[in-house]
Symmetry: D2
């Protein structure tokens, strides 16, 4: 049997969107309230409060009404001025991509770029800042999803904080799946969203904003206002007594509310642990199968996505299509520079469960075999089971 | 008994968001697919095709990933250049508001402004265009929701088309509730969304774009690209073989899909008829009650929202709070200039059913009485029933 | 416009099933767990505990896996033996109907029967018990739904308790909508369900069983065992450590769980108050309209259903069809003896909100007028509003 | 990490209830209509028609308002009279169990009983019927779920038909997962339900009834009438113009409607094929692991459930608890005679997908290892993948 393209797959094991938790899917169907209804305004304030708790922030986060790409563009547009010198840290396609937005708002862009299977070295950041005392904004992607690699954000943040520059962090696909919080990495703007490790659908941004970032944005006359790209417009929207700049996405808020409940009720540490164990099982399996991890070292491999290097001679797109057609399992491709060079298996939110690693390894191995790669699926499963059992 | 602010109201009879159709609420809970999954790409193409059918377009509409305020801002940003002279037609707060966005992109702004309870006269547009042959873009709001009034968009469109200017139409709260389509009004950019008369939650824009508007936007080097504000980025996203610029709001697309099915299956003419009848019943009731419609004439009163002038001496906010507390019925306030001067009763999508007009009139009359206004609720209901029965 | 039979109505204002609360509808879509899964067994025990709390029982209720007609038949089959003399109290079709089941299990059936628009007089029960000391089981319907009338169950229960007979109470359509609890009326078997005033769908029975009823059923060798009709099979099913006799209706349990939360969280007294007020508004309106209540006196009219006598010459079925076709509002007919003689407007669970009375009165009046009955809808609405406003 | 009992498992791979298809879960949340509403009556008739199509019946099936155990008890109660001689075929716990119900309604019970890992031999039935021409009713369980074994129902049915006896078939856990239909096996009463291979929740029975079975039941004065156990009461309930004997389970009907759509739209043959392939993969894996199938031969092993013999010395309950705690995977135990002797892995409806076999084998193997059984999980996965790949 083969799964047709028109049919839904059995498992979506991608780096996002992943399917939402069943409880979140149900919550999306709650009654749509009028945004000015007091019951909705009270609800909205509560959701912001839950997001604050989940993000371990000392002030209120902002919820923007678009998936996190909006938050990232809005951060660049709001915080960066032509007077700024921006240091962009690029260890992958997403990190690199932020530089283009930064450049849009300031001509003064410096960059540290690594190979896209490596991570930024905090020492390199320290050196660059020492050489360029004029650097006023640093931007970094925590989990560069198209590479499945993690930058040492807390260490980098400490270096940036010591220098005094503002720090913009893209933690879209790491937050909720591992220990990372805005204040732990001294972020001034920390962008994440419900649609990765929190297991809700795409459509919102959660942004942690430091007090000094609020001040800098307010002082920036070019910062978007009366705009979809505005962060400033939403400053007081959390309050049940204040209006919204425009109608928020009520259904997405309903989903986020439930996703935050699930995260806080299960316990963040427990959630991170199952992401981490699933990732360890995946990596053990991939290597036992005779395949190669994309990440230069396991230490920088993401706990929320495992990127596997495409064996020579294999058409990566065909490989994923075969995994889907044969087993009903969907993986992610690379993006941009990494497209065709790796396959990504996501383990985020509801799929961050070790048993999914077994299914993923079987589907990956089977698809490899279909293309003539000798991947030992049995050994992969045995190795993954060892990791899981070691933690039982 | 009184309904507390923390409890959901019984009826949300606002000018949007209104509650979604139950079928749409259910559809929001469908499995969240990976945006690159072929099943999702096929689905997305189908939804765009349904939107095209509903909008009676000869080319494909664009679905933007934010509620229609995004579409309106994006239209201004994409179509208007500093070389354009824009004529903005303002018969209410939303029409007026578009002028601010137009001004952001061109210094050359002309305006025809009416009192906010009147409609734009096509002859005035014709005259203005004759006086200002340099006008290259005209913008108009079809249903200026904060006033509950309708502009004669098809006539205006014909005038603009004869002149040769580009036309931007805000049909957010009219489309789906009355006969209006992009090509019938010669619109170059026609913005609407699922969250008003289609009875889906807020979070998406549906935009009809003429071929010459595509050409003008592409020629505009300042038009947003690689941005949340971009329309151009989405040009080929409808196709199952093309990537999305960023992750679309999967759940909202699921809801829109169902909302379009409901609209097309019930039959647009049938849907418009129940909006119109509900509005007639409302207006008959309001006047029989001794209250005054905001609209200068019934001819320009919206079939999707009925705006009622606030009697002298009444605190409009308190009035709506009382209707909610006493009867569990929520109405909309005015906005900006009309805030405090009128109350809006929406009849959109699932609430565009004549029996809701009865409930609305009772709640409105009761709240009026509570503030010492002698509103004859019984007469209002009798008059509304007459309208309904006349159509039975 | 007319609503076609194939389309869903706008308002279902029946005496049940009524639409469920939106939150309950969502809960029905929760993951279906295996009935032997510990998470399900723990959940089931919790739901039984919530039902116990809602029913204010000192022991655990039983949840049977069929709508309450199952509970009533099971009660007769389990409790009544040929040695029993049963006194059945019949003030309506449902009370009368129970007698047929009682007769199936014992030849010794006595009955007190009133006109079907009156209530059982506790003194008549006292007299009958005095004349027939052999009476060992008394059965009574609290709210005889086909009549919309209430029997004084607590007083009757006290009389029966003084006599020492077992009491079977049908409180299907009263529990949750007014103050009534098994122990307050000294019931030995008290049958109700989620599908009336609790606002959940039909499919389960909630049964309060006294300790002495358990003993009597266990002593009855003819009581159903290993049967769908068994109550005994379910005695220990509440416990997370005990098996179920057969697979319970998982989705219905999920719905009941949420319905009980809603009931307990809103506060039973608050829920009863809105049922009562809706009923008062309905009755005031019906009478102001010039129509006649079916109930001989308002004192015995149900707070959960208002029965209106059909005017002479009117085809009651046609009347309801007209209300549905013209206004999208569905009412209930009578049943059996009362069929054709009355129309019932339910106000249960989510529709037990005063504003629905306004809609109901308008639809009822309008349909009457369509058949030539001079019903003054305006006066009806005015009278109903007076009731509502008097309580504001 | 270990999954606590209070948390939902990751995969419910049981022999039912299994989780429902996501589309069915959504459908459960549809508006609850009044059972006498014409829209509901039209809907109900349509669902019965879909069930007829799925069951490939030439007359209308009956839908009973309780899970299939109700249908089986009702079949015995309605069809069997004291004048009948019943031959009950028992190849497992469920088949054996039906004999107790048969005995309740006729003292004349004969039985053919096999070991509970074997199947009924049609020749043995032929011989018994030859020896006992008085046999008038034969009963058989198609898939005896507690054993995971299949009886050759079509062959048995042909033998019984030749004899002229009535045939009662329990096809609860086979229908929808393999080729089996009432008329193909000459069944007079054929009981199944939505909660196994159709992937809907438990709560309804689907019963195919031959014309001569209707006649025999009607002639049986002791057949339940005015009862939850009645089949006769429902004879004309399918018709949009006829009343229901009591309120049907509206939400369950909504779920069944969607489940039937899914089954018919995917194509029965396609659905059966994925059940069969999943089962083949399971069996290959189990044997490669060094474990033993419960079924005496693969030929009689069910395509919807794989039963695995518990290795000597292993506590089967502890084994399943460990699989759940360690991997979040839930299996079924045996029942009655088979309890403790085997573990059942269901592959029904949404879990009848080969990739689930991989997860099941890993979890089963891992749990075995945890109890000191040397089960080669890697070999199991390899063998299962071979089966899957052979069909790709």
């Amino acid at each position: 049997m083969r799964y047709p393209d028109t049919a839904q797959p059995v498992f979506t094991l991608t780096s996002g969107p992943v399917n939402a938790y069943p409880e979140v899917l149900n919550a999306l169907g709650r009654t749509v309230l009028y945004d000015y209804d007091p019951a909705f305004q009270i609800f909205y304030e509560k959701v912001v409060h839950k997001a604050q708790k989940a993000m371990r922030l000392s002030n209120r986060p902002v919820i923007l009404q678009g998936e996190p790409v909006l938050g990232l563009e809005a951060a660049a547009a709001s915080l960066i001025t032509p007077q700024d010198t921006v240091l962009n840290l690029a260890s992958g396609v997403y990190g690199k991509g932020f530089g283009y937005w930064a450049k849009r708002y300031s001509p003064n862009l410096l960059e540290i770029e690594t190979a896209y299977n490596e991570a930024i070295d905090p020492q390199a950041v320290r050196d660059m800042l020492a050489r360029h005392p004029e650097i006023s904004v640093v931007s970094v992607c925590h989990h560069d999803t198209p590479s499945g690699t993690i930058n040492p954000i807390d260490e980098i943040g400490a270096v940036v904080a010591a220098h005094g520059a503002y720090l913009i962090v893209d933690a879209v696909s790491s937050f909720g799946g591992m220990e990372t919080h805005p204040e732990a990495c001294f972020a001034d703007i920390y962008i994440t969203g419900p649609n990765k490790c929190l297991g809700a659908p795409p459509g919102l941004t959660m942004a942690g904003i430091s007090e000094r970032a609020w001040a800098k944005m307010k002082a920036n006359l070019a910062a978007p206002r009366a705009s979809m790209l505005s962060i400033l417009d939403w400053e007081s929207a959390w309050s049940r007594t204040e209006p919204f700049p425009f109608t928020p996405s009520v259904a997405e808020m309903n989903g986020l509310d439930r996703a935050l409940d699930l995260y806080l009720d299960e316990g963040p540490e427990t959630v991170w642990a199952r992401h981490a164990l699933t990732a360890r099982a995946m990596r053990a399996g991939v290597q036992a199968m005779g395949l190669e991890l994309w990440a230069a070292s396991e230490a920088i491999a993401s706990p929320t996505t495992t990127a596997v290097r495409t064996p020579a001679g294999v058409d990566e797109g065909a490989l994923r299509r075969e995994a889907r057609a044969r087993y009903g399992v969907v993986f992610s491709s690379g993006r941009g520079e990494t497209l065709g060079k790796l396959t990504r298996i996501g383990h985020m939110g509801p799929t961050a469960q070790p048993i999914y690693a077994i299914a993923a390894l079987a589907a990956l191995g089977g698809a490899m075999n279909a293309f003539g790669v000798r991947a030992d699926t049995a050994a992969a499963v045995a190795a993954a089971m060892n990791e899981i059992d070691a933690d039982a």
